[in-house]
């Protein structure tokens, strides 16, 4: 039995053989006295086979198409495959009471080379000059101001489904798994990336996204603003690692620095002592 488990590709033939001949696996148990245990074992194997099958399906898509490089090597280094997965959703979680726009903006900026950027501005607070200063091409931007969250969800899904859209940014306070999954399917069809901004309390909720990031504000300097962005989910990526993002508000220069763990610790210690 161990042999079949170590060779992952070997499970499916075994299952097929089992279906053809129900006694195939039981052949090395001549007595067959523990039928219940065998059944349980078979159920586990079947479920593993199912998982492997879905994994191989979902991995087959992104691998043949090019990843989107963010241009910031520290971020790209964390991402599975060295870049953002196209045809997928990416979630950015923020612990504060507003959606964090900086990381999505960087992602959208790098996607803008291949198509249009749709930004859902439900709160009517998005400030285009600041986005332009950070390098988002406004001539490729479509700003949506839907009147309700339901309309926004419809519009974002519709945009993701379209091949002309390279990135669609939407913030959602509440999102069911079905809705998230629907967006992921739309992105798979359309080919762009979906950037979903959610509050940090959605961390424990089910999701359908290729990567998830947690972005926290960090102490900065006079004209230097900092965040830490932690990759909290992403198959094949360096999950759990953080990047320190830095933007200078005078020059609009963006930097990403890898693994500044001590700084985060120090900041947390400072916050705790205060």
């Amino acid at each position: 039995m161990n042999i079949t488990l170590t060779r992952s590709t070997g499970i499916l033939p075994v299952l097929e053989a089992r279906q053809r001949n129900p006694r195939f696996l039981n052949s090395n148990r001549p007595h067959g006295q523990d039928a219940r245990a065998t059944n349980n074992f078979m159920r586990i194997i079947r479920s593993i086979g199912g998982i492997l099958q879905t994994l191989s399906e979902s991995e087959a898509g992104p691998r043949d198409s090019a990843r989107i490089l963010t241009g910031l090597s520290a971020i790209d280094a964390l991402l599975p495959g060295g870049g953002l997965t196209p045809r997928a959703m990416h979630e950015i979680l923020s612990p504060t009471d507003m959606p964090s726009l900086f990381l999505p903006l960087l992602f959208a900026r790098s996607a803008a080379k291949t198509g249009w950027i749709v930004w859902c501005d439900f709160e009517k607070r998005f400030y285009p000059p600041a986005a332009a200063a950070l390098g988002l091409p406004l001539e490729k931007l479509v700003l949506l101001r839907p009147t309700s969250e339901r309309e926004q969800l419809w519009a974002a899904t519709e945009c993701l489904r379209s091949a002309g859209v390279a990135a669609c940014v939407m913030s959602a306070a509440r999102l069911s798994f079905i809705q998230a999954r629907r967006m992921q399917l739309a992105a798979e069809r359309g080919g762009g990336i979906g950037l979903l901004l959610r509050p940090a309390k959605a961390m424990s909720q089910p999701y359908a996204a290729a990567t998830r990031w947690l972005v926290r504000p960090e102490p900065g300097e006079r004209t230097l603003q900092r965040w830490s962005a932690q990759l909290i989910h992403g198959h094949g990526g360096r999950v759990g690692k953080s990047v320190l993002l830095e933007v200078c508000h005078e020059t609009h220069h963006v930097r990403a620095l890898a693994a500044m763990g001590h700084r985060t610790n120090r900041a947390q210690a400072a916050a705790a002592s205060a």
Partner: protein, 475 residues
């Protein structure tokens, strides 16, 4: 008043009755007209739009006669032969035409005469509007009219003026063989045409039927499957009619009649002319999703409000991929506009203003035509600006560092009942108000960071010393 630009002068082309009362005449310059009448309203003259409008009016006038011909710049000929039998007599017919034209908002000189030339002359220059001239009165009624009533060019009219010929009667007295040499060949032709010696055939405008498809049902239908089927049939019918004309739909109206006789009308705008059934079906479905109705529909019609010729569809063979992506984007924007409504699908551009809330402009994507890549000449300012800008600044309370002068820095904020201790502060960036609009208050902007790293964009009004939160740097 309508204007036309000739070289650097702006010349009056047309003046309304009230302007004419004040002495403003066509041919004056705008400056002269302004001197005569203060506060006059004027618009640029658009001859092409005039011609289009005249063409549409001719289409409309087909109701009176099978032949309606356009005579640029401002006349329409109707061949009334036989029409009087249908409408009673010429007189009630004329009355009816002038009444219905007035309803449409046109005032027109009308005349009925045996030849188009005579009718034009009578309508333009006869003392009495709406004259009816019989075959034997033509010569007599034309004689007192000025020569320009023969639709002559400006040069030949000027030549006749030099010769002292003012009326048609004088013109007729001249020897016929001398006329072409002196006054241009047109004069003789026009005279003969007006008198009926030479025929002047009229080329009537083509009647353009509105392209429309409608289905009525014996019982009201409610199920979506049936509606989709109805939509498919309507689209197929409309497309086959459009294809015959080689045109694609640009604007459609979907009219759905519910049982009590009330109709719901949805307009659908397309970014480029289309004959593509799936695209149209998709748009109809989007439009239908915004319809709120509890009862079923007893009739549905689809009419084409505007169409465009499809000739340019085939041109871009080389650039097909980019074009396909553009088209796909156009279709997406159409669907979004239909569902979200106008004003919800926007394109953004930088605007030249030093006020942060005016440094950008949002335009509805239907006007902006976003697929045409435009290069902005404005460069984003190298100043610190927040990604979230509040639509209106909210007042906050701030604690400032002790300072004798007015340039104290903020050290703590109270916003929504929570305290923020400021650890970083940069500024002030001083932005003066628009004193020329009467809003002269100066704002001093600070970029402040509180302990946990959140950054705010706050300003102090110099005059009142009050603090406002205007934006939040991304957090």
């Amino acid at each position: 008043m309508l204007l036309r630009s000739v070289a650097s002068r702006q010349v009056v082309v047309f003046a309304c009755a009230r302007a004419r009362e004040r002495g403003i005449k066509p041919g004056m310059t705008l400056a002269e007209a302004r001197a005569m009448c203060h506060g006059l309203a004027h618009l640029d003259h658009d001859p092409a739009a005039d011609a289009r409008s005249l063409g549409r009016l001719a289409q409309w006038m087909i109701r009176y006669s099978p032949v309606a011909a356009v005579e640029p710049p401002d006349a329409i000929f109707l061949d009334m032969t036989g029409s009087q039998r249908l409408f009673g007599d010429f007189f009630p017919l004329m009355k009816r035409i002038s009444g219905e034209l007035a309803q449409l908002g046109f005032s027109a000189g009308l005349a009925i005469a045996p030849t188009p030339g005579a009718a034009w002359a009578m309508a333009s220059f006869a003392e009495k509007n709406g004259s009816i001239t019989g075959p034997e009165e033509v010569r007599a009624s034309l004689e007192p009219l000025p020569v320009i009533s023969l639709r002559l060019s400006e040069e030949s009219a000027a030549a006749m003026h030099l010769l002292g010929i003012e009326t048609i009667a004088q013109l007729q007295k001249l020897p016929r063989r001398l006329l072409p040499a002196r006054c241009g060949s047109m004069a003789l032709t026009r005279l003969d045409q007006a008198l009926g010696l030479i025929a002047e055939p009229l080329t009537g405008v083509q009647e353009r039927k509105q392209i429309r498809a409608a289905l009525e049902f014996e019982f009201s239908i409610e199920s979506l499957e049936m509606l989709w089927e109805v939509f498919k049939r309507l689209i197929a019918s409309v497309i086959s009619q459009l294809r015959r004309h080689g045109r694609g739909a640009r604007r459609l109206a979907l009219e759905m009649v519910i049982e009590k006789g009330r109709a719901i009308v949805k307009e659908i705008h397309l970014s480029r002319p289309s004959l593509n059934p799936p695209v149209l079906l998709n748009l109809l479905r989007c439009a239908f999703e915004t319809v709120k109705s509890n009862s079923g529909f007893i009739a549905i019609s689809l009419s084409v409000l505007a169409s465009e010729s499809l000739t340019d569809e085939q041109l871009d063979l080389f650039d097909q991929e980019a074009r396909a992506a553009d088209q796909e984007m156009d279709h997406l924007l159409e669907r979004l506009r239909i569902r979200l409504g106008t004003g919800a699908v926007l394109t953004a551009a930088l605007a030249p203003s030093h006020l942060p809330e005016r440094a950008f402009s949002l335009t509805d994507s239907s006007q902006a035509n976003p697929t045409r890549n435009k290069t902005s000449t404005l460069i984003a300012p190298l100043k610190s600006r927040p990604l979230h800008l509040l639509p209106t600044p909210t007042e906050i309370r701030a604690m400032v560092s002790p300072s004798a002068s007015g340039d104290a820095l903020p050290i703590a904020l109270v916003h929504h009942g929570s305290n923020f201790h400021i650890v970083q502060c940069s500024g002030p960036e001083i932005i003066s108000g628009m004193w020329w609009e009467g809003r002269g208050k100066t704002r001093e902007y600070f970029e402040v960071e509180e302990q946990t790293g959140r950054r705010f964009w706050i300003f102090r009004v110099s005059e009142t010393r009050r603090w406002f939160l205007h934006g939040i740097f991304d957090c």
